[in-house]
Symmetry: C2
Subunit: 449 residues, 2 copies
């Protein structure tokens, strides 16, 4: 059974949008696409600007509970992390399922059709495994299936509480014990047992939390296991200067160089943040053909700094985007943040054309999350697409010529009208088809405080 959609205006990857685009969908995929055609009878009309669904390549779903509760004070990333741990220690599979369902619902309303969940909260208090050692991961996968978002569960290896100046790992604190499988073999054994619900738009991937939390030999083991299993591999890389300093003191290498040395880099690797990089780091990441996942709203909120996005692209790295800590969930804001923050750092404009920023928010993320045909409107791609209103006060006046730049530089999450994932419409006219997302969010967040 083929579904026909006809879009008055659609972004197909270029600097301007195309008019009259017919999209044929079958079996959750786009099977045919034509631009410049009239609407045939029986086609569903898509108003505004149709574009591929946005891809959120870096999420920690539970951080949404911190919104409005950690931004006002002084301090740093490290004091923020203490507050984040206080939420982490309160979660169990049931409450995590409820919160994640609401957060993934918020993402869908923001036009995000695919999320990479960087998942390290594996075990019960004290690190005691649940009866199902993958109960927390299963809760995330079920939450995604409930609301209809595509997900890559990036099962994350987290073994140590940091690294000492002598290179020896530091002990885990009580909250961090919930993150650890003990060693890389046990991590791989548990992660390999994750079951993706049949029929779900879901897959698994792997992650090394960071060079703080995984020792070099274990990084190598995780990388080898992920490579053999054909899994995308992610890691937090150089988010904070202190991470670099500790890594250099302990291992005499930067985090990027350490990851390269132990076989983590490559086209299936994603460096999350990639904020504080040396020229050599930029060359290593770029030459490997990896993806760098920037999270500009989080990096601004946590005072991380401004990453070298322009140089990374020039060196050959791909770009993806993530909402990470969910201070806000708005991938348009992330996309423009890459360009606008680089303007603040350089006092010049024009580092990344609008279509490059939109590609980072779509195809770049899909590639990073192991959906290589995703993030585009084209035959053979998953039928994940959204419509953006061009008739709100934020977008009015754009027209065809300015639609793409308006999407990147002026639109917000609340301008998203319709959302289709795997051929199924999950958001209609700005409302989720089955879940009262704001009420569910309020209940789930309030219960944690």
């Amino acid at each position: 059974m083929t579904d026909l959609y006809w879009s008055e205006l659609a972004w197909l990857g270029g600097a301007t949008a195309e008019a009259g685009v017919l999209i044929e969908v079958d079996g959750g995929q786009i099977i045919r696409l034509q631009a410049g055609v009239a609407s045939p009878a029986g086609a569903t009309r898509l108003r505004g600007l149709t574009m591929p669904g946005l891809v959120n390549a870096h999420s920690h779903a539970f951080h949404r509970a911190l919104r409005g509760r950690t931004h006002g004070g002084e301090g740093s990333f490290w004091t923020w992390r203490e507050q984040m741990y206080r939420v982490a220690e309160r979660l169990d599979p049931d409450s995590y399922h409820g919160l994640a369902r609401a957060v993934f619902g918020e993402m869908l309303l923001a036009g995000i059709t695919c999320v990479g969940e960087f998942h390290y909260l594996h075990h019960g208090p004290g690190g005691v495994p649940y009866d199902d050692p993958n109960a927390m991961g299963a809760a995330l996968l079920a939450a995604a299936a409930d609301v209809g978002i595509r997900i890559t569960l990036l099962d994350t290896c987290y073994l140590h509480g940091g690294v000492g100046a002598d290179g020896a790992p530091l002990a885990l604190n009580p909250v961090q014990q919930r993150f650890s499988d003990g060693d890389a073999d046990s991590f791989a054994e548990r992660a390999a047992a994750v079951v993706v619900p049949p029929g779900a738009a879901a897959r698994t991937g792997a992650a090394v939390h960071s060079v703080r939390a995984v020792d070099p030999a274990s990084i190598g083991e995780v990388a080898r296991w992920a490579g053999a299993a054909g899994l995308p591999l992610h890691a937090h890389v150089s988010e904070q200067p202190a991470e670099n300093e500790q890594c250099i003191a302990a291992h005499h290498l930067t985090p990027s160089a350490l990851l390269a040395e132990h076989g983590a880099l490559g086209p299936d690797f994603t460096a999350v943040h990639a904020t504080h990089l040396s020229g050599v780091d930029i060359g290593l990441l770029g030459n490997s053909g990896c993806t760098c996942c920037l999270c500009p709203t989080t990096e601004r909120d946590l005072a991380d700094g401004i990453g070298p996005a322009r140089l990374l692209r020039a060196a050959g790295a791909g770009l993806a985007l993530g909402t990470d800590s969910h201070a806000v969930i708005d991938l348009f804001e992330e996309a423009r943040g890459v360009e606008l923050d680089e303007r603040l750092a350089t006092l010049g404009r024009g580092h990344h054309p609008p279509e490059v920023l939109l590609a980072a928010a779509t195809a770049g993320g899909a590639r990073s999350l192991g959906w290589p045909t995703g993030g585009v409107l084209a035959a053979g791609a998953p039928a994940d697409f959204i419509t953006l209103r061009l008739d709100t006060v934020r977008t009015a006046g754009a027209g065809r010529d300015a639609a793409v730049a308006t999407a990147v530089f002026a639109a917000t999450s609340c301008d998203v009208r319709d959302v289709v994932v795997a051929g199924r419409q999950v958001v209609e006219d700005g409302v989720h088809v089955s879940l009262d997302v704001p009420a569910t969010l309020a209940a789930a967040v309030t219960a944690l405080w």
Copy 2:
């Protein structure tokens, strides 16, 4: 006739919101306010977070037509200015009225109840005055009255096309001829003749465009005239390094020092942008008790840089906020931008508490625009207030404790529900009571391209 409003949660200036706030309104003013009371019979219930109306202390209404059309390219503030001039040269009193009405409508929908319109597009093509030399200013005042926004028309002196290295003024280019009254006396004569519509929530103020566009002696004349007339005085100050360099080369003084030397600084003065300041500049501005109006979304879009907001506050300056070029119109985004951009510049958090940022978006702007009792919820203040939804995906879960920080760090313009200006409700449930704002915007912008 007294109107009674009862707010379930209201921001009265502190770090947290107050529950059960009764607001009595008469003659366009708040005549009585009580916190911690139950709702009396007959009161209109305000849901969400009630707060003073937001004050946009720096606007060029016509720049809204540039949205989505100038952000993608390379270049700088100076190449952007060429594009801006191409829109300026197409406007006449009728089209300016139509565009401004729509833009002020967009502001109201974003919760902005008072705008400072920095107005320099005075004359017809070639600088020929209209039959009414204040036809363009009258169009702006009429537009504001039409949609019901409070306005301070900052009538702006613009005399020269720049300053040469020898200190002599440069000639105006053809577009700039529309801005100029020829000399400061003629400026003051024309500006003194502006008529504020009877009964409107409107007043006038004065502005010196910049040290580029007004020579030192004329700055002094405008400042004396504004002081004698009791008008607030604004000026663009040190938005770009090139402005500083030219000013120092020509006058051997920074822009702030030049303005101080010629009597412009003081409690009624507002320095717009105040981005590239020396330590001495910060001291001069702070000691004068002036206001600094930051426009973070514009300063990020135009690659201007990050101003020293924390030091300015410490030195004694007040803060206000403006949407300036209207790349976006969202005063919540401006408020958080002050803090978040300073985090990027310093790699530390906590420069400005949320209630300080909200005060900049309200009372700070009101003071800057000559409404000294405005921008607060208190007896004696103008009855300008708004409600912010706490039940959207962006704000859900905030509760009373986190409502203020959520407003600053997570809310957007589309979370504004109701807007009251001078006791009259002009936005109900996110819709303007009399104008189809998106359709009017689309028509007005499209007509200019």
